[in-house]
Amino acid sequence: MNAPVEADEVLDTVGLYCPVPIIKTAERIRKMEAGRTLAILSDDRVILIDLPAWCRSTGHEYLGYRQESAEYRLFVRKTRASARTR
């Protein structure tokens, strides 16, 4: 899956296993303005399942991922619907 987007901010979670990258993503997104995009770097392949699920749960927009050798770069756009997660 290719994600043809650039990010406004980057969160490096390489070396951390889920759910830690999800916890850190939630913390970062909370501080961002709606409409801005976050790139999450991870080497935990299960984040390809968990991050889309987290986005479906919280209302943020999952934009896809790019694989860069052993790491993944996943993109999330903060939406106004995310008000439900504060």
Binding site: P19, I22, I49, R56, S57, T58
Partner: protein, 353 residues
């Protein structure tokens, strides 16, 4: 922080513990059916088997067995999930539970109190109106009988504000029911260990994707883990036990060689890699010129024990059928070599945890 208001709000916000298992999923669904706003809290305790499968990163492992079930359930239900790190406070509770352990290393009552207490704090902080759980009366021997349910509610300091939607009809009405926030008639009356009723409701509501078996994903309820856990508590002052040491209890074969020395022998390449990533201060043993497990040592072994550790390492190496195997022991830039016979299994079993 104060107790939630009893005035009739425009929108009722329920805060629930959501493991992602069938019971907590159904509990959330029962409240969604009544038009309530539901927020799920999913605790990461450090003792979840799924999380460990992930950390091992075995390439053959099905990613679905490693996914976070709380996130998956939240997505399926369409409710926001907050993942919370239970942290050092949880470890402290696990090492010294006020209400003791179940049959293994499971401090189920204290665990429930820890999580519900946290949910109560979240409720107060985020404008929630009450807390709910997927607990079922009589389902679990330690934490879900009537007396335990009452005790948990009392110790969490939210008496009247803790709703168990699946067993509500067997329990006294809570404040959310008395105040008309929740329609008691539409709550359920499930009790006991059978899961037939839950299965029926899951069919009714089209909930088919949930983990099996129920409650089987906590290391603290696992017999092998519990043996190692209690050995650790027996040989280490609880306040000195770190989270990393709990992680190590999940990996490899464990042997207690003396009151002060224990070893962990990796079982495969993934565990070798996992152990090698840990910054452990002790000796590390490896058989030379062959496939070998990494053996890590807790405590300072004397010369006799070093021979025994080398023999155990040899036993699990690819050269285990040879009469003598050369094993390297390394620590702080120092390397020793030991030429030893692989240990016999009957000797090994005396030390196994």
């Amino acid at each position: 922080m104060s107790e939630p208001s009893t005035r009739r709000p425009d929108r009722i916000r329920a805060i629930g513990l959501l493991s992602g298992g069938l019971d907590s999923t159904l509990a959330a669904r029962v409240l969604l059916e009544q038009g309530l706003e539901v927020i799920g809290l999913h605790y990461s305790t450090g003792f979840c088997m799924n999380d460990h499968r992930r950390a091992m990163a075995r390439p053959e492992e099905d990613p679905k067995r490693m996914r976070n079930e709380g996130l998956r359930a939240g997505a399926d239900l369409g409710i926001p999930i907050e993942v919370l790190d239970a942290g050092e406070a949880y470890l402290k509770m696990v090492l010294n539970p006020k209400h003791g352990y179940g049959a293994k290393a499971n401090p189920c009552i204290d665990c429930r109190i820890f999580m519900i207490h946290g949910a109560a704090g979240y409720m107060r902080e985020h404008g929630g109106h009450f807390v709910f759980t997927g607990e079922v009366l009589g389902q679990r021997p330690m934490s879900q009988h009537m007396q335990a349910l009452r005790l948990i509610e009392k110790e969490c300091g939210i008496e009247g504000y803790l709703l168990r939607p699946l067993s509500a009809k067997h329990l006294p009405p809570t404040l959310p029911e008395q105040l008309g926030w929740v329609d008691r008639e539409k709550l359920l009356g499930i009790s006991g260990r059978s899961r037939k009723e839950q299965m029926a409701w899951s069919t009714t509501w089209g909930i088919s994707d949930y983990p099996q078996p129920a409650g089987g994903c906590c290391y603290l309820a696992d017999e092998n883990f519990a043996r190692r856990f209690h050995d650790k508590r027996l040989h280490t002052e609880p306040e000195q036990i770190r989270r990393e040491e709990m992680i190590l209890l999940k990996v490899g074969r464990h042997f207690r060689l003396s009151p002060r020395v224990k070893i962990i022998v990796a079982r495969d390449q993934c565990e070798n890699q996992f152990l090698s990533r840990f910054d452990l201060p002790g000796w590390r043993f490896e058989a030379l010129d062959c496939g070998s497990p990494l053996t890590v040592v807790e405590g300072e072994p004397d010369e006799d024990l070093k021979i025994l550790i080398a023999s155990i390492t040899a036993r699990y190496s690819d050269r285990r059928h040879e009469p003598l195997v050369e094993v390297a022991a390394r620590k702080d830039g120092v390397e020793e070599r030991h030429l030893v016979p692989p240990v016999a299994d009957q000797v090994l079993d005396r030390f196994r945890l």
